[in-house]
């Protein structure tokens, strides 16, 4: 879907800026917006480019930096923490060879932290794009990662 057709679903009023940005990024494989897109978005919503940038830099779901095709957001909240989310994070880090905030060289995975996913009764949890995974163990994480790898090939 082109940028134009995506943002035109929203009225050209600044109040829809956050949502339009989020929607557009979700649809893109690299989950980010480029400088030239920011210029267009700013024009459409009739705001300054700096305003768009300020919004993009504020929200964790928005980014100017290209991300991997699958964004893994690991919950870093307390219920997950007391249920050993640290071991899940370490497993992801060693398996993917990246730290939170980084993307694998093949552009497949980005690792990030997120706030509570509301899955505290099934901690630890993470999300990969729109899918939530719960009751994780390092063993389970390895299996999930290989599933995504296979899907790609």
């Amino acid at each position: 879907m082109t940028l134009e057709s995506m943002i035109q679903k929203y009225p050209a009023s600044p109040e829809y800026l956050v949502e339009a940005l989020r929607d557009y990024q979700m649809a893109k494989n690299d989950h980010s917006v480029t400088e030239s897109e920011i210029v267009k978005i700013a024009k459409y919503f009739n705001v300054t480019e700096s305003k768009v940038c300020s919004v993009v830099s504020f929200y964790s779901f928005l980014s100017e930096k290209p991300k991997g095709r699958y964004v893994i957001r690991i919950c870093r909240d307390v219920p997950c923490f007391v249920n050993k989310s640290e071991s899940i994070l370490k497993t992801l880090e060693t398996r993917l060879g990246i730290k939170p905030g980084e993307t694998t060289p093949d552009g497949l995975f980005t690792l990030e932290y997120t706030g509570c996913l509301g899955q505290c009764d099934h901690a630890p949890a993470f999300r990969i794009n729109d899918m939530t995974y719960v009751d994780l163990t390092p063993d389970k994480v390895k299996a999930i990662l290989s599933e995504y790898r296979e899907e790609k090939s």
Binding site: G118, Q119, D121, H122, A125, T132, Y133, V134
Partner: protein
């Protein structure tokens, strides 16, 4: 909807459907489908119930999704509500148990005590 009366009428009609007033031996299968239920695998279970009920050619059965029942540790949870209000809660339901519930509980009328929430300890 124009008035309180309209709402009352719709309410009565909806209640008849929900209470299965017009069904002989009606049974309502409720599958807990909050995020917790779905993450625990409720979607394929719901589909399994649909398939099984169709395969056995059962009538008077309503299969529906409901929200989280709060006992998230036992998801996926399925409740079988019979017309007289009897409610049986099954926990940790997988596809195989779904099959068993349809065959034993719905067709043969035997409740599967071992899988009822009340008798299962985590």
């Amino acid at each position: 909807m124009k008035s309180l009366d309209d709402l009352q009428k719709l309410r009565d009609k909806a209640k008849r459907t929900m209470d299965m007033t017009d069904l002989v031996d009606g049974v309502r299968i409720q599958v807990g489908m909050g995020t917790c239920g779905i993450a625990a695998g409720a979607r394929p279970v719901l589909q399994k119930f649909i398939d099984e009920v169709a395969a056995h050619n059962l009538h008077n059965i309503i299969i529906t999704q409901v929200g989280c029942m709060g006992e998230c540790a036992f998801e996926p949870i399925v409740e079988i509500v019979e017309k007289d209000g009897t409610k049986t809660t099954y926990c940790k339901v997988g596809k195989r148990l779904a099959e068993e519930i349809v065959e034993e509980h719905l067709i043969n009328g035997n409740r599967l005590d071992a899988y009822m929430l009340s008798t299962i300890k985590r």
